[in-house]
Symmetry: C2
DNA sequence: CAGTATCCCGTGTGATACTG
DNA sequence: CAGTATCACACGGGATACTG
């Protein structure tokens, strides 16, 4: 993913690349997918993606927020709670992401059938 | 993108991640997108994506081929010609990729409007 | 034309530990 | 609970030159 927003958003590359700059990072797709269900807390996301570390998840969330894809809401309670939800712009990724998921699922199924445990 | 096919295709991650493992690399989305138009030669792809180096493009193509997304055809002519086209499996990415493209295009347009050259 | 061979570097990812 | 700090590293990406 390289440079992030350098000039990929400008004329150079195809928009596909621009989109992948944002959601292509290892865990971002998963984050967006899970947030399609609605607002989730930090730990909820971690539970759904057990193998991602806090640092990486945090980083991904901050980047997605900076990119206007998700919204971070802090509830001033104790202990602190933070909710993450998709912005309308992020919601617009629903179809493509579900499409990718379906595609990935078919391949996974095929691969698993062959590997057969 | 990390490890490539280690065990992401197994139960661990969501299929979204599995899909991004394959098309998430910097230029792969672009390659697939351009191949939606039909078979293209190596140099055709390079012309459409002027900033990618031969090595990287070659690498991307080999990986996509290994993943069963594209098909490589060698025409025994002189000078040699090689065509790349999507497999049916790759064709199945059409909708998601076009969706991502549309999404990326909207953001690019918005960003450019703000940056205003 | 369609690649491969080297070499190098940035950064994305990760493990671990600590904090408001 | 929801993070940040620090350290380390492999790997993807890139520049350049060479080849069947």
């Amino acid at each position: 993913m390289a440079k992030r927003h350098s000039n990929y958003t400008r004329g150079t590359g195809c928009p596909v690349e621009a989109a992948l700059e944002i959601i292509g990072a290892k865990w971002k797709g998963g984050v967006i997918y899970h947030l399609l269900d609605g607002e989730l807390r930090f730990m909820e996301l971690q539970r759904r993606m057990p193998t991602v570390t806090q640092r990486i998840l945090s980083k991904a969330l901050r980047e997605l927020e900076a990119d206007g894809v998700i919204l971070r809401t802090v509830y001033p309670t104790v202990p602190p709670q933070v909710g993450y939800r998709l912005t309308p712009d992020g919601e617009a990724l629903r179809e493509p992401v579900l499409g990718l998921r379906a595609w990935g699922a078919r391949r996974t199924a095929a691969a698993c059938a062959m590997a057969a445990e």
